[in-house]
């Protein structure tokens, strides 16, 4: 296997597979809380309403955003500090001197891995939240069939596509911002935590901004 593929697979393992438990548990808990609170606030026992709210919130908003957040905190910070350390230790220079293009060996695999991981983890998050909804419906003895049919009736291809595209863009932006900050360190090791913090805060801001932009663009199209 080529070294570039190895880097890609390692990043996929770290960002995608190792983040899975955190994403699934978060998705399940958030789905559980949303449905539980919806029932508590509206006093509505109608499963179809609960289903609609859950699908709307999880697919359109919370799913991609929360997954992006988990990927940012877990992988974004790691990428930023790892690349910053490599830069300070002259390792990027060593790679270049050996004729290994850093953009091919270090940057591209990380970008591809983060895009793929964010999209896939977002699906897992959404699925876990829907499962939690089933559990709450079961606890409240509400109608399963109403809940299921409400969820399926809410599934529109466009919404799913927007949700996945949004996740992909989040993954792309997180990787790009964190890589850029990681490679921006100059000479001092004290810059590593500073750059990592900046990478996180800038990425977080980017997540909010992109989310708002995509929602605005979608509303224009509608």
């Amino acid at each position: 296997m080529s070294p570039t593929k190895t880097v890609l697979l390692r990043q996929l393992y770290f960002s995608g597979i190792e983040s899975l438990p955190a994403v699934v548990v978060s998705g399940f808990l958030i789905g559980f809380i949303i449905v539980f609170q919806t029932i508590a606030i509206t006093k509505v026992q109608i499963s179809s309403t609960i289903g609609k709210i859950l699908v709307w919130l999880i697919f359109k908003e919370i799913g991609p955003f929360f997954t992006g957040l988990i990927v940012l905190v877990r992988s974004g910070s790691a990428i930023s500090s790892e690349l910053a350390t490599m830069k300070l230790n002259r390792e990027i220079d060593y790679l270049e001197a050996m004729g290994i293009k850093p953009e091919e060996y270090l940057i591209s695999p990380r970008i591809y891995a983060l895009i793929l991981s964010t999209v896939t983890l977002s699906l897992y998050f959404q699925f876990s939240a829907l499962l939690a909804g089933f559990l709450v419906v079961f606890i409240n003895s509400a109608s399963f069939s109403d809940y299921t049919s409400a969820i399926f009736s809410q599934f529109v291809f466009k919404d799913i596509a927007v949700s996945l595209i949004k996740s992909g863009i989040f993954g792309f932006c997180i990787s790009l911002i964190c890589i850029w900050h990681g490679l921006s360190v100059k000479k001092s090791p004290t810059q590593i935590p500073q750059r990592t913090t900046k990478a996180l805060s800038h990425s977080l801001f980017a997540l909010f901004a992109i989310d708002a932009l995509i929602n605005f663009a979608v509303s224009l199209l509608e």
């Binding site: 390792e91 060593y94 790679l95 270049e96 004729g99």
Partner: protein, 204 residues
């Protein structure tokens, strides 16, 4: 093979003029480590000189594109002073990285060659350890083997004897001399005294 004409840089303040000839050992002594670092960057086209020209295998590197330069870098092996190993890779992965990346041979052959070189350099530990677990001498050895594995036309040694004790210097010099018997080798040393280690008295 490599010709340097009137080279001056940010740190290289004395004009450099010389030619590295095939199958010969060449020694360069710099006053400061920054000068050596800059020289290697200029030779590999990673930095532009202030003035002067560098001819690499007949090509003036000023006229080469980045891709052309990267292709030429495959023909140069550099053993960096501290090994130049990549910290997030295992020691063994470091050995194979450039050779496998540039596909200099099939992976099995590269692995076999790496194993036999490790034996030649009397490396006893499991090579699948992290870079942090290697001593300075071991890092230098891994850096040398890694550079050698790409079948370079010229092999550069950046301060090979710095940071190790007297016995280790002699042991390493013996190994390097053997490796350089049939190759073009360039040594960047911190003092003229170190040329004795390489059995050289006419280094320039």
């Amino acid at each position: 093979m490599i010709k340097i004409v009137g080279l001056l840089g940010k740190y290289i303040d004395k004009e450099m003029n010389f030619e590295i000839k095939e199958r010969l050992k060449t020694v360069i002594v710099f006053e400061k480590h920054e000068q050596a670092e800059e020289f290697l960057k200029i030779i590999t086209g990673m930095e532009r000189p202030k003035s002067g020209d560098v001819y690499l295998f007949g090509n003036n590197i000023k006229q080469l594109s980045r891709d052309e330069m990267i292709n030429l870098r495959k023909k140069i092996g550099i053993a960096f002073k501290d090994g130049g190993l990549i910290s997030n890779l295992k020691a063994w992965e470091n050995l194979l990285l450039p050779a496998v990346y540039h596909k200099v041979a099939n992976q099995e052959d590269i692995k076999q060659k790496a194993k036999s070189l490790l034996e030649e350099f009397e490396f006893q530990k499991n090579p699948m350890i992290t870079v942090a677990m290697l001593s300075i001498l071991e890092k230098k050895v891994f850096g040398i083997i890694r550079a050698y594995l790409v079948n370079p036309m010229v092999l550069f040694f950046e301060y090979p004897f710095d940071g190790i004790d007297f016995m280790q210097k002699h042991w390493l010099a013996g190994k390097i001399n053997k490796l350089c018997e049939k190759h073009t080798c360039v040594f960047i040393l911190s003092s003229n005294a170190q040329t004795d280690l390489l059995g050289l008295t006419d280094g320039h």
